[in-house]
């Protein structure tokens, strides 16, 4: 099993959710996060006080899947989140040791 973590632009969430649904993904977790990459931040000016804002708001998606789904999921996220502009985000893939469904106690692929 794999865990796919994707950092995307907040306004692309619906597109990504849609393209993931199309390939049969049945669940994901979204968190609001801040960070920076190649995309520059911006400056804010309040009267005489100038602040450089480096950390931009992004969304982080956590998706747990079977190994054979990895390429499809990556493709779907790219399809949904790509704007072609700097700051579109990144996708990370980790090995996933165990999954447990709390309600039934099912484990492994059955719990996905």
């Amino acid at each position: 099993m794999k865990q796919v973590v994707a950092i995307i632009k907040p306004f692309k969430l619906d597109d990504v959710r849609e393209s993931l649904s199309e390939i049969g993904i049945q669940g994901l977790t979204v968190s609001e996060v801040k960070g920076f990459g190649r995309q520059k931040g911006h400056t804010e000016l309040y009267r005489g006080a100038e602040y450089v804002v480096d950390f931009l708001p992004k969304l982080k998606l956590d998706i747990a899947i079977d190994d054979d789904m990895v390429d499809q999921v990556i493709e779907a996220i790219i399809k949904g989140a790509n704007t072609g502009k700097i700051g579109d985000g990144k996708i990370f893939v980790y090995p996933l040791e165990q999954v447990v469904r709390i309600r039934t106690g099912e484990t492994g692929s059955e719990a996905l």
Binding site: E44, L45, Y46, R47, G48, A49, Y51
Partner: protein, 432 residues
Amino acid sequence: MKFFMKIMIMFAFISTTAFSRLAYADAAATIDTGSTAWMITATVLVILMTIPGLALFYGGMVRSKNMLSILMQVFVTFSLLSVLWALFGYSIAFTDGNAYFGGLSKAFLAGITSDSIIGEIPEYVFMTFQMTFAAITPALIIGGFAERMKFSSILVFVSLWLILVYAPIAHMVWGGGWLGELGAKDFAGGTVVHINAGIAALVGALVVGKRTGYRKEAMPPHNLTMTMIGAALLWVGWFGFNVGSELAVDGTAGLVLINTQLATSAAVIGWMFAEWLLKGKPSMLGAASGAVAGLVAITPACGFISPMGSIVLGFAASFLSLWAVSGLKNALGYDDTLDVFGVHCLSGILGALATGVLMASSLGGVGYDDGITMSAQVVKQAIAVGTTLVWSGVISFILFKVIEMVMGLRVSEETEREGLDIVEHGERAYQD
């Protein structure tokens, strides 16, 4: 036609000032119902300026952890000083005494009844109208040392300041004291309210010291939506403040109305374009700040200068205050949290001095008193400005120092980090 209108305005002005503003002892006066109805409305409008107007304008500019502290400081200062005004302040400001202080003959409102009349309105209305001025002025000062002063120390300071600074200055300018006698013109409180509060705020900011982390950490305003609402309420309420200061419904009241609107609008536009040009973007905070700078500058001038003069004054005030809150403040490094000095004191000084110039009949103003030249009037204005700066600056400094010794001025660094809302008031403005 234009000349004729000028003459009319002049006549309206002369007759009303001679009658309504100085007719304290006119026993034969009767109540004018129109003027009284307006003055009650104007009084309520000044309350609207303070709570919620000023409270929200200020509150939006602090960090969210200090929001309630600002709302409380403004709200409670306003209430506390309303009571103190009735007990002592009104009498010190508006009864006969010497050149600096009135007497205590009307302390606890002694001798005032429903039948007492000032000008053409009941004295209770006049007294309450003046009360709102006395209560908003110390509330303005709070912006200078926001986010770090102890609530208890603030209450002690504003109480003493009302008695030792506000009431005497009001007496000197409006209550029969020497600045009024001298012929210095302050229609609605450029010296009494704005210069007075602005210099006290700067002194407070210097004595209490900078906020922890000032210029090292980001301290952006937490909610500029509220600041805009607050500025808009200030703008609306200011018509009560300025127009009400005529104490009657007449031609001058109309002049004040249009002057207040034009100066404020010009200052919004001026600040916005200057900021756009110099800093790259026109900001909401800039527009709101411009409005307040324009309102401050027109306050002393509004009954004396022309509508076109008001536009010029509004633009000038916006440029001056924009420079003060960015250039001057950064160069000198003081932490006047909400720019009470840059906006209220400096635009107040500009308005007070410009009154001396723009009231010239050759510039469309109402003209000078008999035998007074422009330079003589400007000198009188400068004397009033200087007196207010020194009186308020020195006494405020002494008050802050004494309070610092007796009970401390500043919250602990830990409290400042945690936020004044939780530590001083035991509540939070926003639940996550």
